[in-house]
């Protein structure tokens, strides 16, 4: 009864007040034959014991040097971020349904919406969806709602979109019978405009554009956006928010800008944590806001005209609109969103640009070292802080040998696409100093030599 405050006397007096003799009577409406059998569960432990157990399980991963990216990025998280986010008032509050008792959370959300709108160049951003991948599915569903009368509700997705994002998109939207077509890349790892033309010609309603794509490659998003929009196709931009400190915001892509912007804000102060919790976001034009899924906070005033915040446009949501809602999402990723807000406040535009630039700079350093050693990138395109290299040997044993040396060396891309044989995807961030990059390159060369031998 670890966290139950009742003493035996409490229990007895409360049962007595209810006119009951025994706690079992509390369950007397439950058919007796349904009673649970004896359960096989582990014994109680105290906090000390569980923490000892879990500390051993956690291990020392944080002491490894991480060169993996591929949709989840290890950046420095200022100590203040989780110290504040971990305050009971933020961490143990529910969704801010009672606005007057939740101005803290509501204002944080409003600030998050504002920051993300500025970062993406859009008018509105929601208060988070689960992650970038499920967010992409929400974005595509929303784009299709915006294309309601479209003759051919087909969705075009470049194969440079992260394969697990594509899988997620498929598992979600395929339930409604929506068709997804993948569009291949050219030899520079970019979406091939001529293949896109072919697909457009076959009819489509939505195009997803990833910038950078899952190999770190940058596309000519202006031209592609124009190409799609000219054909009446809605463009969903899929972005890494850190990159937007340097790169053109999707709101300014092409002549009219992307229609929707989606991504995962994990790089903005959210720990890797084996894969979650992360925090998806979805931004749009103000005209489309009534089709946006997820919560939204609006500024308003109280009865004495003091400014304040409240959840708004709830008529889009399941608890009001039920079967007609824009999504079934209810609980979102609130705390991670709060962390991202505080992270962005601490970094500012210049700080975030430095994080992005140094992360990228390390990749340039690494590329130079590897190219000097004869290891070439798969794609001769500009990238952002992540690059696919072609090793002279299979990747899997390299990863294992590098792990022995304390490196998380990257991702074996062959596992996701057989055409990327010997492809090692490597990512760098500002957590790595130039020295770490040199150590990595040196170790990689050693390992390759050993494997070859």
């Amino acid at each position: 009864m670890s966290y139950i405050p009742h003493t035996y006397e409490d229990e007895q007096s409360m049962l007595h007040a209810l006119g009951l003799q025994h706690q079992d009577q509390l369950f007397d409406e439950i058919p007796a034959e349904l009673a649970a059998p004896a359960l096989n569960l582990p014994e109680s432990l105290n906090e000390m014991q569980v923490l000892r157990l879990l500390s051993a399980k956690a291990g020392h991963f944080h002491e490894r040097r991480c060169f993996i990216g591929f949709g989840a990025y290890a950046h420095h998280i200022p100590a203040a971020v989780w110290d504040i986010v971990g305050r009971g008032e933020f961490m143990t509050a529910y969704t801010p349904y009672q606005a007057e008792a939740s101005q803290g959370t509501l204002q944080v959300i409003y600030e998050f919406q504002s920051m993300m709108a500025m970062l993406t160049g859009m008018d509105v951003c929601n208060a988070s969806v689960y992650d970038g991948a499920s967010g992409l599915a929400e974005a595509v569903l929303m784009a299709l709602r915006l294309q309601k009368k479209h003759p051919n509700p087909r969705v075009l997705v470049p194969d440079g979109v992260h394969p697990w994002y594509r899988q997620t998109l498929r598992s979600i939207v395929s339930q409604q019978g929506i068709q997804i077509s993948e569009v291949g890349h050219n030899d520079k790892g970019q979406l091939d405009p001529s293949r896109l033309d072919e697909e457009i010609a076959r009819g489509a309603a939505v195009l997803v554009l990833a910038q950078p794509n899952c190999w770190g490659v940058l596309d000519d998003v202006d031209a592609l956006t124009d190409q799609a929009q000219k054909a009446g196709i809605k463009v969903v931009a899929l972005v890494n928010p850190t990159s937007l400190a340097l790169l053109k915001p999707p709101g300014l892509w092409g002549t009219r800008g992307a229609d929707l912007v989606v991504g995962d804000a994990q790089p903005l102060g959210i720990p890797l944590s084996s894969g979650g919790p992360y925090v998806g976001f979805l931004a749009c034009r103000i005209e489309s806001v009534r089709q946006l899924p997820g919560r939204l906070v609006g500024r308003t005033v109280d009865v004495s005209m003091r400014p304040g915040f409240t959840l708004t446009l709830q008529a889009r949501e399941q608890h009001i609109r039920r079967a007609k809602a824009t999504s079934n999402i209810c609980t979102n990723q609130g705390l991670a969103m709060s962390a991202a807000t505080i992270y962005m406040s601490l970094l500012g535009a210049e700080g975030l640009a430095r994080v992005a630039a140094v992360s990228h700079q390390r990749m340039l350093e690494l590329s130079r070292l590897l190219e000097d050693a004869g290891i070439e990138p798969f794609f001769a395109s500009p990238v952002f802080h992540e690059r696919l290299f072609r090793l002279p040997v299979p990747v899997q044993p390299v990863l294992q040998a590098m792990a022995q040396r304390g490196f998380e060396a990257g991702v074996d891309m062959e596992r996701f696409d057989p055409s990327l044989q010997h492809g090692l995807l490597v990512c760098t961030t500002e957590l790595l100093e130039s020295e770490d990059v040199r150590d990595y390159a040196q170790s990689l060369m050693d390992v390759i030599r050993e494997i070859k031998a």
Partner: protein, 489 residues
């Protein structure tokens, strides 16, 4: 109210937090670059800390207030679980780290799967869904996959009692189903005649929670399960209310084929002002092939691994890029291990004791129960219809007035079928003294409602803001700050 943007001054930086220099990146094509930096705030570290610390103090939360929000199970969130999930060895782990180096976290997740199976009476569990609604999605998608695997394409409809949570119908639609609502009787039970009428070859399944959102246990669950199964449909259990029966009755034993659990409710993980949650799904044997991936498996040598589409070729697929909210799952695992057998079996008992006690005391205090003949589960409903009619105060007025008394309001106007309702869930971690104090506040408010209803209509009086204008918020949309704008206070 001052926005963080209003503390901003061009050129200021929290210098400890960024790299010391900014390299030039001239390899990036000019036309792909941004020309104007985003107007993120330019503030010092102290300003950030002070701003958000002060903001936090404007919240009610479990750590500061009794929070009897029905259907939300706002119980104590152990600090030890937070400590465990924040261990640097867990936080730093990349989702694509080699499994050899991830055996620790994988073994925790595997154990958690086993514990959840045992507690729900299910055969398979996937921890992937990020929240309850995503668990529902996974569940209904599995129902769909099941029927399709049997080429039973006629089943296009999901049945849902009117008392159900909004996520249930919204989910069914997201899964391509149409929704038919089933009425609920005055005693809170599902209308079996209506159900019988609704069932047919078009029925894919029935979604319900038990105890229902009316706060009462559906006594005819055996009958219902039989009816749905006979019609060829499957039974979905919305596990948001699992806290009520934890260790007492298992959904699997009640005949449910698939369920989700809200770990951020029953397993005490914090709600974070809106999430992250975690909504694992559990399934009956026949749905096992369809579980969402990844699932954690263990081979005969005791080696753990992520199972994916190669291991589960019929899976409904991925629901997020990686593996759901692992940080939340670790908290739930801490909780399950800390409570253990003895503790987990007590949760439902004391949650029910508190709810029944509080219901009883409020009844004594003159409040009208929605289901006066029924035993409360872990929550119950009072209706303020009488007070609304006679004194002109609404459930919302009472809710807002409670805030002045230092209590978070119960859930208002849900379930929709009870007029002017408050859905009250005290949870097992509140003391009798706290419940008694809540009753005293409710009594006092009732007295105010009779003698000074305006006091309630104007409430709250003691919070950072008075009652907010929701209509204006929706009409004059202001969803983000624009450079130059001031907060006007």
């Amino acid at each position: 109210m001052t926005l963080i943007f209003e503390h901003s001054i061009p050129g200021r930086r929290a210098a400890a937090q960024a790299p010391l220099t900014r390299p030039c990146c001239d390899d990036l094509p000019e036309h792909l670059l941004r020309s104007v930096p985003p107007a993120l705030p330019e503030v010092s570290e102290l300003q950030v800390v002070r701003h958000y610390t002060r903001l936090s103090q404007k919240n009610f939360s479990i750590d500061t207030h009794f929070y009897p929000l029905g259907s939300c199970t706002m119980k104590y969130n152990p600090r030890g679980a937070h400590r465990a999930a924040m261990l640097p060895g867990f936080l730093a782990r990349h989702p694509l780290a080699l499994p050899e180096e991830s055996q620790g976290v994988l073994s925790c997740l595997y154990d958690l799967q086993e514990i959840l199976k045992e507690l729900t009476g299910m055969k398979g569990v996937s921890l992937t869904p990020a929240a309850g609604a995503q668990g529902e999605f996974a569940g209904v998608a599995m129902i769909r996959a099941y029927h399709q695997s049997r080429s039973d394409h006629a089943r296009t409809e999901i049945l849902i009692p009117t008392a159900a949570h909004g996520t249930n119908p919204a989910t069914a639609v997201m899964c391509g189903y149409t929704v038919r609502e089933i009425p609920v009787l005055d005693n809170g039970d599902v209308d079996l005649d209506a159900l019988q009428l609704a069932l047919g070859p078009q029925t894919a399944g029935l979604m319900m929670t038990n105890p229902s959102t009316c706060g009462v246990f559906e006594r005819q669950i055996n009958l219902i399960a039989g009816m749905v199964h006979t019609a060829g449909g499957l039974l979905y259990y919305d596990g948001a209310n699992l806290n009520a029966i934890l260790g007492k009755v298992r959904p699997g034993d009640m005949g449910f084929d698939v369920l989700h659990m809200n770990l951020h409710k029953t397993f005490a993980t914090p709600h974070g002002g809106g999430g992250p949650g975690s909504g694992p799904v559990g399934v009956h044997e026949r749905l096992m092939p369809f579980l969402p991936i990844p699932v954690v498996g263990r081979n005969d040598d005791g080696v753990y691994a992520w199972l994916d589409e190669r291991d589960l070729p019929q899976t409904i697929g991925r629901l997020s890029a990686f593996m759901g909210n692992i940080g939340v799952l670790l908290r739930a695992y801490f909780y399950a291990r800390q409570l253990g057998h003895e503790g987990l079996l007590r949760v439902g008992v004391y949650a029910s004791l508190n709810a029944n006690y509080l219901m009883h005391r409020l009844k004594e205090a003159g409040f009208k129960l929605a289901y006066p003949e029924r035993r409360a589960s872990h929550e119950f409903i009072i209706s303020l219809e009488w007070e609304a009619r006679h004194w002109g105060v609404t459930a919302m007025d009472v809710a807002k007035r409670l805030l002045d008394y230092g209590f978070h309001a119960p859930t208002t106007y849900f379930p929709l079928l009870v007029p002017e309702c408050l859905l009250i869930e005290p949870t097992e971690t509140e003391s009798r003294a706290e419940l008694d104090a809540f009753v005293a506040a409710m009594q006092s408010i009732r007295h105010e409602a009779e003698h000074n209803p305006q006091l309630l209509k104007d409430a709250p009086h003691t919070l950072p803001v008075r009652r907010l204008d929701d209509v204006r918020a929706a009409r004059e949309l202001n969803l983000c700050w624009k450079p130059g704008e001031s907060s006007n206070q």
